[in-house]
Symmetry: D2
């Protein structure tokens, strides 16, 4: 019973089959492979965005950092939640890829930005040459706390950014789970909600290692390609990224997997609360942060369950975390693999 991280899971059979299937003969390299052309169309269809530029990389950190770097300057600020992966879990990748842009943290309960906090941050940033300038808004859906933004919530935040002419990024490492959790159309969670560029995750939901960067406005496409190459993220045998993504998307597998993960998380959360645990964040997707009476962790582990302890337990035990720097002092986390 492994509840530590989506990353501990194997790849889905349909993804592995797609890789095996593409492994014959010669194919064009560096993204000109036949499968990539199909993947581009599939993703454009998903987002109802026929002009979107679509690129693949192998890690979520690369997707996020490249998406940001293509849209901000080094003297810019990126507004992100206190708990955002780009702030807490990427060892400074955004600063590296953007050549030193500054992340300005925005508070909010349960992993979601407080609109008033975002507004205050926007208002107080970039008021003179002495400070960094407003550059971009980055949201995360599913959030780091396992909650989801609705289309309306996303729109409310993006509207604030757009009032300052800022582009909006969405870290969608668990985007499939957000689609299931909200029941919303992918376009309504992104493009129609004011998002310009999405890190569309595959790895956590069944792939070996592939994420798409989807830019609804293709104006930055060539710059993105150059930055991807310059960062060592352009694959020569690109077909193996394309195949993963194709296997992941074909026949709606990505949503089927996400639905199962969300359902299992809900089931587990119900079981935990029935047995005396307290949920620290609403369980809306496939992550659980819980605390429970002393002694429980020991019994669970003795029974074979693996999960993370979060820092700052303060009298409680619990499960959670990626072992990263603590950002929500009380969070307890169980991430349900697909």
């Amino acid at each position: 019973m492994i509840f530590t991280s989506d990353n501990a899971s194997a790849a889905s059979p349909e993804v592995m089959a797609a890789i095996v299937n593409v492994n014959s003969g010669y194919d064009a390299s560096y993204g000109a492979d036949a499968a990539m052309a199909r993947v581009t169309e599939m993703i454009r269809d998903i987002f109802a965005a026929p002009d979107a530029a679509v690129y693949l990389v192998a890690t979520g950190t690369a997707a996020n950092a490249l998406a940001l770097a293509a849209h901000v300057q080094p003297y810019h600020a990126i507004f992100a939640h206190d708990a955002a992966h780009i702030e807490m879990d990427e060892c400074g990748a955004p600063e590296f890829f953007t050549n030193g842009a500054k992340i300005i943290r925005v508070a909010g309960d349960h992993g979601k930005m407080d609109p008033a906090a975002l507004n205050a941050a926007l208002s107080s940033t970039g008021t003179s040459v002495h400070g960094v300038q407003k550059g971009m808004l980055s949201l995360t859906n599913v959030t780091e706390a396992g909650t989801v933004y609705s289309p309306a919530e996303t729109t409310a935040l993006s509207t604030m950014a757009r009032a300052h002419k800022l582009p909006v990024h969405l870290d969608g490492a668990r985007f499939a789970n957000a689609v299931i959790a909200t029941g919303a159309h992918p376009a309504d969670l992104t493009r129609r909600a004011g998002v310009d560029v999405v890190s569309f995750g595959g790895t956590k939901n069944g792939c070996l290692g592939v994420e798409a960067v989807v830019m609804f406005d293709a104006a930055k496409a060539w710059e993105f390609e150059l930055r991807r190459k310059r960062a060592g993220h352009l694959f020569s045998k690109h077909r193996y990224l394309s195949a993963q993504m194709e296997g992941y998307l074909a026949n709606g597998a990505w949503l089927t997997r996400a639905r199962h993960a969300n359902d299992m998380a809900a089931l587990l959360a119900a079981g935990l609360t029935a047995r005396g645990a307290t949920l620290l964040h609403p369980v809306q997707a496939n992550m659980i942060f819980a605390q429970w009476p002393a002694g429980t962790s020991q019994r669970l582990r003795a029974a074979g369950a693996a999960f993370y302890d979060m820092p700052a337990a303060e009298g409680f035990e619990g499960a959670g975390g990626d072992g990263q720097r603590a950002i929500m002092p009380h969070r307890r986390q169980i991430k349900m693999a697909k």
Copy 2:
């Protein structure tokens, strides 16, 4: 009556005289001038640090950013107060010079780091490869709120950093005012209090534009020289930086000027409170943050006083600020020029 910023003042006569005096004949360039050799010894004497490496640059931002860059790696965190100049007022210079290190903000009243907050930040940073690593502590004395750290307070904070083997930087843009305010020996405020490198300000206290970077351990001296050159901060006709600093230090002029500024700030603060103003931070050096009844600002300005309004006045008027991004919502600031 100009109370806006030390930067609005002219240079002191003794500094200007030193520049005029050095302006004849040939001299070695790029820091090999005769005056620089004297300045190095004067500064070593001030800090009782006979082995210190001493360099001059023309701006405080350059001094701070180069001092940091010589001591941290791009994957490091720099711990600084919420209101630190390096965080708020340098348009991301630390991120630029360090190639993307991250500033982690530490809270604390009246511009001074809360030791518990520093301890928590240190404990939660760099716990795995996923986050930036602990890199350096940066303190500011006089603080951005016009308060001062005593040697003991400085030691308490530096000791926490040193427990993690971190070097300690002191932004001393107004270091002369801190020396006067504390009555402490410069070495007791720095080297003997666990500080490794000081940005020793001259500009705000009477120079045209010169700051020294003083490294008590000279191991980073050559790296500093390379980074200074690479950043365009090595002056060809370096004698004009040296002369400023020599004029500033000779005969204790730097302390005489700072004492006068501190005395005048105290006098003004007393007058303000006697007339109904409230001081938002203790006035210990040459900065005043005050709020006063509605209508006062208008009368003061009509009478010829210039001062800054701080953001977020919330029912009060006041003076303060450099016009930068607001970091203390209620602060009102008057900076007394020397």
Copy 3:
């Protein structure tokens, strides 16, 4: 008949089998997987380097740029051949990862550094604070011209670098082919020849996308790990990189494949010369640069052969190139896939 690039080929069956084989159950993420422990030992054995630090990334550009960045400072020079991949074919990745180090080009026939040219470059670099300082030597074996350095040639160049205390990097994207071509022990081509860090290629010789970075001195290991994460090159489901490399190395498959490629290149080169083509560089591994009489290219393509034209044909036709910026005006290139 595809002679364009190794990157157009599919993966070897043994590599694909290894990926399929590892795709079950839970495994530790981020490099702590069971297969990685085995890979580390296999690579240490290959290089007879029991203390080497071994890391995997997915692209050759990442391997090279990270290896360089872990060993040089931004104010350093990297000495590389005029035709080096790091100079010509990585869109500035070394400059990006090192935060602006400068590549100083060293001439030499047939893709190999002229020792006198290296010596001159070393002597004239870093003579004062005004220029970048000597930082690192980077060699490539198999070279970009399809030639190989012997252990003695490698030692001669590394000795020059070591006289200035510089570390030495080897870009071994086609290292297996160099081992076959020279008949030398891998340690004699690297560690015992003065090389500190190797980019040990897998992708071009049968993997989907995996390269090892092998550091014989592990002192930089933790820094490498941080830079890898920060660059988005740490894979969460790392087992799929490990499995590729394990399948590639097991039973000497990597050498078997390379021997076949080298043999086929020799056969093709013999056939070409017998039919009137001129070889522009000695064919020692799996690359051919040839020129031939007008009309030949058209006939070859009509017969189904795919190959690259190099720029600056000057009266000749030919095959070659990656389509990158021309660095050897007359080169014609056929790269034999494994």
Copy 4:
């Protein structure tokens, strides 16, 4: 008799007087001073460019690096002469400020770009995603060899760049000497010759330390301001930069000084050749590169002359150089101070 470098000289009386003159009372800081408004108009007049954006910094390296950084991206190439200051003498400042752009060296005799070499470099750069892209052309006038480009020569090179839509930078550290040497209008040497941005030097020709960056198209003005601040090159007490430049320009002092320096260099060159020296480059401005019979250097130095030896003397002695990395193996240099 000091012939080493313009940087060994003192400032001109008119410049020093201007600084002394501005040193009274309060003035706006950070470039909003009254003198700067006048300087902007003076420089616009000089270049007949009423809409130009004009900024001051204190060093030539800062001027060049900021001018480049405002116009290129990190994945760009900057085309510069083999001997360009930005390539040889700035310790990698362009790479630092541009976050890793690559300088591509262009050959040419006597410090001037060979148009055919520039054309070849342009044609072979940026042909695919694998290499850096064409970004900017940077010329130097007076060149590093003491020669000058005419307006027609400048136009010929800038036209090649503009055919690829590249902006053009002119390093005019000794621009006054170029104006005198060519007799051309400053606008004809720059704006009307296809130059977009000029580093307009003051330091070498009589100032303490001030250079203007003149952008004929103000579209990048705000970005330039942010980058200047971020690099620590925005002076708080900016009036002292403005005053220098005002004193330098007023009454044509800048041209008077340059004319004298050029005349003295011509006189010295004539005397040297009359006594058996050979000029290695035409002496057109205020620099001399000469070689002379063995024993001459010793006699000159015994007589009190100071000058530089250049590297790689190869049987000759001579004067020259800044002690930097050698870029023209045979150059001998005497720089005439104003």
